[in-house]
Symmetry: C2
Subunit: 554 residues, 2 copies
């Protein structure tokens, strides 16, 4: 047997050419570790799909090599696919305390037991196979997030995770500049870095600046205050609680995921809540309006969320009052603008005062802007660079940024899902790509909805459906019953009786014509019906419903 060339492989199975579904494979000889395991929410054209998870065929083929799954932080796009993946590969999972607290919740919901969860701390090192991993404190819009350095026999990989630079973070330590600096000094082979905000010049503001806005508003507010934000943004929640305590208000929590996260964070010590501050949401009416703050989900205008329910008087536990001050502490994620706007309009109509991004500094991002990225590049000074966590436009801009800092273009790898970037002692380059992509989850079905089903859903959604049923005599092909025509999502039938009657005539003519010509073969019969009816309807009303001819033989 010839000796294999020593190779280190980095394979993003997701998280490139998309923002979401982060999962990166690090492979050296017989050892694989997986960094993050996220999901992404479906695109508009993925009708009826609940979530999208990465295709892990490559991991299943190399199941025996997979030594662990290592997590950078607890956001859905980094941990959301874990339950699906762990069902197929029960590898040990490593992450910080809060991250694993959120993972535990998720595993419970999916009824998954016997998962090997291992808490690590920022600053800690562990050995997994031939890798030595260091977890490094960063700042992000969720507490306890880390970057990960992976020391391999061929050099050090640094994966920044999602990060921003925050000199005045809430509760967490400041990012571990010294560790990044030390790594850079000792030499980093390759860096994978967050590209989300690479298009934004300057700096992302500190999380604590939002606290100032809270203080300003809480100080003068005389009514109830309702603050909507991301459940996972525990630092934001902490700042709301701080402001509430400062101005003598009780805090109630609304929305399933907010209740979950607050409970987990409180238990694990990530939230400081003075005794007597938290009250049950059902008890808020016992206090004067100026002593109440409600923290709620729904900052993205999600139709089933607590805030949307409040706006449409559909909340089971509380009722909006005119004068309530609603503070939306978030900016809409691209694609959610209209939903958020709808909620704002509804809240205003109900007489609430609404504070949102157009009117105040209600939110800061969790991702680094250009100047922060430059600092990271300059500290770490990697030899090679793989921009991740971005659409193509972001990866491309991040590549430009790195080049402007002096990195040679040929040392930068803009990867696609399934790209293999191989490192040997002599250099680096793209290897042969592996299978990767989207697995659609719809209800309990994982991967059973594909392009054909989606195409049909799209067709049905646009012009609806017409079913044509005929029963014919098996012996002589004579029509025994029908044709009956049933439509759904096409026109309001009661007001379009003529159209439906004429459609029936069109089908009848086809049947007569076929009988005349002795056409009894079903396929021809069906396609003739389809063809005639489609032409008739398009001519008549310029619509193109799905036509489903069904022939029953007796």
């Amino acid at each position: 047997m010839s000796k294999a060339v020593e190779k280190l492989k980095i394979i993003p199975l997701g998280g490139v050419n998309e923002i979401g579904k982060n999962i990166t494979v690090i492979e050296y000889m017989d050892d694989i570790i997986v960094i993050d395991c996220g999901l992404i929410f479906p695109e508009d054209e993925m009708l009826g799909i609940d979530v999208v998870i990465p295709d892990i065929t490559y991991l299943l083929k190399n199941r025996d090599k997979v030594k662990s799954i290592v997590l950078t932080h607890g956001h859905e796009d980094h941990i959301g696919a874990l339950p699906y993946v762990l069902r197929k590969i029960n590898a040990p999972v490593y992450g910080t305390k809060l991250t694993l607290g959120l993972v535990e919740n998720k595993l419970k919901e999916h009824d998954l037991k016997d998962i090997n969860l291992n808490v690590v701390k920022a600053g800690q090192s562990i050995k997994i196979g031939k890798f030595k991993l260091e977890f490094i404190r960063t700042s992000h819009s969720i507490a306890d997030s880390v970057a990960i350095a992976i020391h391999t026999p061929l050099g050090t990989i640094l994966h920044t995770g999602d990060f921003k630079i925050d000199y005045t973070p809430i509760k967490d330590d400041v990012m571990d500049f010294h560790k990044f600096s030390e790594l850079g000094k000792n030499g980093v082979l390759v860096m994978l870095a967050d590209s989300t905000n690479v298009e934004r010049p300057g700096y992302t503001m500190s999380e604590s600046t939002v606290g100032q806005t809270f203080n300003d508003i809480f100080m003068s507010a005389k009514q109830r205050i309702i603050v909507a934000t991301f459940a996972s943004n525990i630092h934001r929640v902490q700042q709301i609680i701080n402001a509430a305590v400062m101005f003598g208000r009780k805090v109630a929590v609304s929305g399933r995921s907010m209740v979950n996260v607050v409970n987990v964070s409180k238990e694990l010590g990530y939230l400081d809540i003075p005794d007597g501050t938290l009250i049950d949401i059902k008890a808020i009416d016992k206090y004067p309006d100026n002593q109440i703050v409600v923290i709620t989900t729904g900052s993205q205008g999600e139709p089933m969320s607590a805030l949307s329910r409040l706006a449409s008087s559909d909340h089971r536990k509380m009722e909006l009052k005119p004068g309530d001050l609603v503070f939306i502490s978030a900016t809409p994620i691209p694609g959610n603008e209209k939903m958020v706007s709808k909620v704002i309009n509804q809240l205003f109509k109900k007489g609430a005062n609404v504070i949102y991004e157009a009117l105040a500094d209600v939110h800061v991002s969790g991702h680094a802007c250009q100047e922060e990225l430059k600092l990271m590049h300059c500290l770490v000074k990697p030899k090679y660079f793989i921009p991740v966590h971005g659409e193509f436009r972001h990866l491309k801009q991040h590549s430009e940024l790195a080049q402007n800092l002096g990195m040679p273009k040929e040392n930068i790898f803009i990867a696609d899902k399934g790209s293999v970037i191989e490192f040997t002692k002599d250099g680096a380059g793209f290897g042969k790509s592996v299978q990767a992509g989207n697995i659609l989850v719809d209800g309990l079905g994982v991967g059973d909805v594909g392009n054909i089903v989606l195409r049909d859903r799209k067709h049905l959604s646009e012009d609806g459906l017409i079913v044509v049923v005929v029963t014919i005599n098996k012996e002589n092909g004579q029509v025994l019953a029908g044709p009956d025509i049933i439509s759904r999502g096409f026109v309001y039938v009661r007001e379009s009786e003529d159209l439906m009657e004429e459609s029936r005539s069109v089908v009848r003519e086809v049947l007569i014509e076929c009988e005349k010509n002795n056409i009894t073969d079903w396929t021809t019969l069906k396609s003739n019906i389809k063809y005639a009816l489609r032409n008739y309807l398009y001519e008549k009303i310029k619509r193109n419903p799905m036509i489903l001819p069904i022939i029953m033989e007796v």
Copy 2:
């Protein structure tokens, strides 16, 4: 007969609580004029709908009073519903030359003849019934737009139309400040004003600032330049042409609406294009790359537009080349962010350099920001105020802005579609509302798609459809054929044969059970099938397809 109280009514039938579908009725005694007649594009949940037009029941009931339709400018949300309305009420139409040029195009497409179109000029006055109308020059993102003052026996109404304040407009005259000032001095009863940008502090920049960006970029570009923008923004197009001429480039035009608008504008004298500048798009390969500019539609990422086709190598007349400089001179309209991003990613992947909003000053708005609105309020000094052209949040903020300038809250009317604001000699107030709302247009069908059809389309789009067909003996209720099960948009059947087979068993059991219990009534039979199958499928796969049981009798 008792003498009727002299009343002036203002009725927005659209354009309030929405951005789009602008149409306002002005009524005094036996005279009605309609200001604008626009459409709005469907919301996400209006599946399969092409456009949405206003419900004009009120106008049809008062058909004899309608003396004219008066247009402020040529955008779709102000003229798009004209073909539908004119089919029912053939009133004379008034508008500026460019506006009517665009209307003519539209009427031709809808095959509408014998429409009475009357060109007016900014600065001109006309009499219609008991009204005297003045057309007043404003600035906006389309040329030749006007505000309209309507002098009535009970006072003057000022409708600003869509406007911004631009001290250095392209080709058009500067806004007619003197006329607004004169109106204000003489007394304005009520103002209706554009609220689109009321949430933005400061000023909207001049259209000419974008020209500076063009010049900067054209100066150093060595490749082909492709600029995408709104077809109707003729001033933008003019600036692209100016830059092209300045730097020795020929100009080709791509996209149906861009070709249309450029032709109309050129003919009517709204575009200055030096001879020899325009070339056919098919001829661009005859010139060196640094002598070509292509102006194209598709700045909103519309999937069928010229730019999207170019990005996906589906353009019939040209091919994108690596190095092409693509300039997206627009910002995404809320809701279009993801489509625009998709096109940007595709263009980058094809090797183009893309300049878009994140990277340069590529666009300015056509609507007034807060300081401009304040100037308008201060010039016109109306007694009453009706904020229009905005969602509720905008109308509300515009009301606040007016109050901050000293207007009493009770003199401001935040209207809904169909609200009637009545003015008498003694004051003003809301009257009884009239019918108003959305009419959905799908293909040739106007108003035949309502809530039931949309609900079905939504249901079909989410989990697809299962058709169950059974043929039974009319006499004894025995099953003669089936049950057959056909699905679409539910699961990929070839990989789910077990599920489909078990579904058939479920239906078979229901049929046997019904036969046992002598249930032959169709409604019960169908609902039993539906119920059993729905429960089975939800239990099994957590999906809820539409179930359509069909029973044929022989």
